[in-house]
Symmetry: C3
Subunit: 138 residues, 3 copies
C-alpha cells in the first residue's frame, strides 16, 4: 500500500469564500503515483469546510445567503462561544457544508461525476488555514 500526504494552504482575505481546489487535488494525486484507492480531502480547521458541488457563481451566492439565514453571523452576541471571538456562526456553517470528502481513485484519476468539483469553504477568513490531502492505495 502506498500513501501520500500534502497540506494545501489558504489565506482568504474575506470572511467567507468558496475556492475550487480540484486542480490542486488532481496534482497531488498525479504526484502520488497512486492508481487505485481513496483520496481524503479535509479542512484542518473547524470554521472551514471541504465539500463537493457545482462551480457556478449563482449557486455560490445562493449558498452564502442560505447559510447566513440558517446560521446568522449577526448579532454576534447571540452566541455563547463569542467571548473574544465572533465566529460561532462559522462553526455552524461548516457543519452544514461538511468537514471532508472522500473521493475514489480509479485508473490514476479522481473518480468524479461530470459536474463534481472539490471546494474549500472558508467561513472565518483573514488568517492562514490548511486543507489536508491524504491518498492511500496502490
Amino acid at each position: 500500500m502506498k500513501s501520500w500526504r500534502k497540506e494545501l494552504w489558504f489565506n482568504v482575505p474575506t470572511r467567507r469564500a468558496f475556492i475550487n481546489i480540484t486542480p490542486q487535488v488532481d496534482a497531488e494525486l498525479a504526484a502520488s503515483g497512486i492508481r487505485e484507492g481513496l483520496c481524503l480531502v479535509n479542512a484542518m480547521h473547524i470554521t472551514a469546510s471541504v465539500f463537493i458541488n457545482d462551480d457556478e457563481s449563482g449557486l455560490h451566492h445562493d449558498y452564502e445567503q442560505w447559510l447566513e439565514r440558517l446560521a446568522p453571523h449577526e448579532p454576534v452576541r447571540q452566541y455563547r462561544h463569542n467571548v473574544g471571538e465572533d465566529n460561532a456562526d462559522a462553526h455552524m456553517k461548516r457543519q452544514i457544508m461538511g468537514r471532508e470528502v472522500v473521493v475514489a481513485v480509479t485508473d490514476g484519476k479522481l473518480d468524479l461525476g461530470p459536474w463534481e468539483q472539490v471546494f474549500y469553504g472558508e467561513f472565518d477568513g483573514g488568517r492562514r488555514k490548511r486543507v489536508l490531502v491524504k491518498i492511500i492505495g496502490e
Copy 2:
C-alpha cells in the same frame, strides 16, 4: 490491496425520493471478494445524496417536509442559480443530507449498526443519475 468499482444507475420519476440501496451495495461487496476494508458510496451528481438512516416511511415524510422548510423549492426565482434551471434548492438539500458515506467492511460484510440502511436521496429527479460504489481492502 484489492479494489472494486461499480456505478449504480437511477432514473427517479418524481422530483424527490429516498431509495434504499443497501441490497445493491451488499451485492457489490459480495462480488468484490473483499473481506476487510472500506466501502465508499457517493452520489456522482450534485443534486443527489447518499446517506445512512432508518428505512421508515414516516421519517422519510418528515425529512421531505423538513428539507423543504430549510431549503424551499418555491419560489424558484429566489435563487440566482435558477437561470434556465429550477434546482438550486436541490443543491442545498443535498448538502444537509450529505454526498457520501464510508462504511467499514468486516468479515466480508458491511459493518452497519442494527438500523443503519444506505439510501440514495434524489432531490432533482426525472433524469438518469449515478451512484459510485468503491471498495478497497483485502
Copy 3:
C-alpha cells in the same frame, strides 16, 4: 494491509450530549499498530453523530440551541415518525452534524489540525449505543 476494529459503547443519561472521544480513538490507533492509512469513526445508531469540531463549552451550548431551532423536538406530534417514538428530531439533528468522520493516519498519529477534536453527538440518549472505529493501512 492491516485493519483494526473496535466498538466504543456509550450510555448517555440525558437526551442530548457532546462527548469528546479523541482519547479513545487515539488509543485504538495506538493499539492497531497502523502508521499510515485512514481511520473511520462512525455512529452505529441513526439518532447519533460523530463529528469533528472544537472542545469549547460555549460552542456546544450554541450547537444545542441552533440544532433545536433547525429541528425542534417539540411538539413531538409534528412528526409522522413519532408513532410510539419521540425521536424524529434526533434523526434530523444527526444529519446536520453527520454520521461519520474519516481521519488520516500519518506516522502512527491521527492527522488532526490544531483544534480538531472528535465528538460523539447524542440526540436521543438514555440507552446504550455504539461508535465504530475502523482503521486500515500499514
